[in-house]
């Protein structure tokens, strides 16, 4: 079987969950071959984990140019690798960076690109959910190989251990790929909470939470369930919670096993980011709130009474 390239997403020396999901998907399409980009020394910490999820090969492209510039060097190296390795498909994470690398590779190779793919069949047919998850589309690349970005949390990663063959590839790029320099990178402490787009449970707060201070209640309930914390646009625009945690049309799209909406009315803007969640639970004092039209279980009530009681009940059951 031919190689399926998987561009590794990693942070803090660990492969992100979407990487393991892509390796799992790639096993159904061919032989997974991971591609690691980063500063010198990046791949060493990752190879074992990549092998555990079935990466028969790990291509390593490490250089300060790759780490020190926005996506152009990665795209240049990846396009070169595609040309030499002749894979049957190329998968990237459907993150801003994954989509941007794919965009440049698509131009370089005059190859179609599909984004936000939920699954990819062996015949190259991709499934996508568009218009806020209301329409399911089957699509294909008709020029070049299947080049797709895979939406995080679209499948469950399963291990399939192999010992990968690690191969260092040429990471040099010319100056045209070095136009945008990264001059500062500040990693934000997320504590022990899972990443929003990867979490199996998300607890989100909306306008009804009322203040930044009150968001502690949302955070505490999330921590109790091992969940990520999200927020509606109303909450982020009001300064209750940082923008990067916004779930919705203009924020993140999440698709967890369980989504708990606290004090969120459920405007279309918000629904666009969460309505493909498997199970939805809502607490809102307005019985007319549209969020209840989606919720598998809803409590009409004051979240400041319901949530502390629910937290207490969870603790009691442990």
């Amino acid at each position: 079987m031919s190689d399926v390239l998987v561009v590794v997403e990693h942070a803090g020396g660990a492969a992100k969950k979407v990487t393991l999901e892509m390796l799992t998907l790639a096993r159904d399409l061919g032989t997974p071959a991971a591609v690691v980009f980063g500063a010198p020394g990046t791949a060493a910490a990752l190879s074992d984990k990549l092998g555990e999820y079935g990466a028969a090969k790990v291509y390593v492209a490490e250089s300060d140019d790759i780490a020190g510039h926005l996506v152009a060097p990665k795209a240049a190296v990846l396009a070169r690798l595609i040309t030499t390795a002749q894979p049957s498909a190329v998968l990237l994470g459907s993150t801003q960076e994954g989509k941007e690398i794919a965009a440049r590779v698509a131009v370089k190779l005059d190859n179609g690109v599909l984004t936000d793919v939920l699954s990819l069949d062996a015949d190259g047919t991709a499934t996508q959910a568009i218009f806020a998850g209301t329409t399911i589309v089957k699509s294909q690349v008709t020029r070049g190989l299947p080049l797709a970005t895979v939406r995080p949390n679209s499948l469950t990663p399963t291990p399939s251990p192999v010992t990968p063959a690690v191969e260092t590839i040429d990471a040099t790029v010319d100056d045209s790929a070095k136009l945008v320099k990264v001059v500062e990178r500040r990693t934000e402490q997320k504590g022990s909470r899972p990443e929003l787009t990867e979490a199996s449970i998300v607890v989100s707060g909306g306008r009804g939470v009322g203040s930044a201070d009150n968001f502690k209640l949302v955070e505490e309930f999330a921590d109790l369930l091992g969940a990520a914390v999200g927020a509606s646009r109303a909450a982020t625009d009001s300064g209750f919670y940082p923008h990067q945690f916004q779930v919705g049309q203009t924020g993140k799209t999440v698709s967890p096993q369980l989504y708990i909406a606290l004090g969120i009315s459920g405007a279309i803007q918000h629904r666009a980011g969460m309505q493909t969640s498997k199970t939805i639970v809502a607490v809102n004092k307005d019985s007319e709130a549209p969020i209840f039209e989606l919720a598998d279980f809803g409590v009409v009530g004051d979240l400041f009474k319901v949530v502390p009681q629910a937290a207490e009940e969870v603790r009691k059951r442990r």
Binding site: D116, Q140, L179
Partner: protein, 259 residues
């Protein structure tokens, strides 16, 4: 500074959106069509830069005749002029084809700075800024929440999955912006009146030296083979909290094996 803002007309994301049953393209006829929301932030950013540093702001749109309405709306916020690439052969263009057309149009405009929204609310594909940068050989500073212009030097602060990055490049460049960057102005009555008489140039594929078979359905590099509406979610059980709402919630979570 010569600034071009990319503006796309999209179906209103606040209303029902559909694909056409015949060719699986976005159904514009049944939709309420508006400026892509993120593009309003791009326009605002361009106007702020013009106000601080001088220059000219041009709106660039590729789209059908009906997009003219969105172009006039964009002009009413304050840009000086607009270019509308409009050609029946563009119908069905994929992202790569669209980028070919926009890159050619940008080539005729000689922009120092191109500003776009980070994504459109219809496709949410996020590839256009990098595709254009790749085609034009210019820098792409994407996902800006803050943009600083100092002569020909650009500095962008961008939110990433893991934190914040500060990146720099020189013009010519393309910058894409999120809605965290500014607060778009409302068009004034004067702006709306002036927009009607601002120059709007319509370009065809022939004007750009692109042949019809390179774009539209003929040149598309991807295809939609099937599209189906997902049945709407049904609301489930709802309880009024009369003192035991929190317990009921956890009982539901337990029944679904979440706790």
């Amino acid at each position: 500074m010569n600034i071009v803002v990319l503006v796309k007309q999209v179906p209103d994301s606040g209303a029902e959106r559909n694909l056409r049953s015949d060719d699986k393209t976005v159904d514009r006829a049944s939709a309420s069509n508006v400026i892509n929301e993120m593009d309003e932030y791009a326009i605002e950013e361009a106007l702020k830069i013009k106000e601080a540093h001088g220059g000219e702001v041009t709106v660039l749109t590729m789209g059908p005749v009906s997009a003219t309405e969105s172009i006039r709306k964009a002009l009413s916020m304050g840009p000086d002029k607009a270019v509308h690439v409009q050609d029946d052969a563009l119908h069905g263009s994929c992202a790569l084809g669209t980028s070919k057309v926009l890159a050619a149009a940008l080539g005729t405009l000689g922009a120092d700075l191109v500003i776009s929204g980070a994504e459109s609310t219809d496709g949410r594909v996020q590839v256009m800024p990098q595709m254009l940068a790749e085609r034009l050989g210019i820098a792409a500073l994407t996902g800006a929440r803050k943009l600083t212009v100092d002569g020909s030097s650009l500095t962008v602060e961008r939110q990433t999955e893991d934190g914040v990055e500060v990146v720099t490049a020189s013009t010519p460049a393309i910058v894409s912006v999120w809605d965290t960057i500014n607060e778009p102005r409302y068009p004034s009555f004067k702006g709306i009146m002036q927009a009607k008489s601002k120059p709007l140039t319509v370009l065809s594929l022939a004007d750009l030296g692109i042949s019809a078979d390179e774009v539209g359905f003929a040149g598309a590099t991807t295809t939609v083979v099937d599209a189906n509406k997902r049945p709407p979610r049904q609301g489930g059980r709802r309880v009024e909290d009369s003192g035991e709402g929190g317990v009921a919630l956890v009982e539901f979570l337990a029944s679904e094996k979440f706790v």
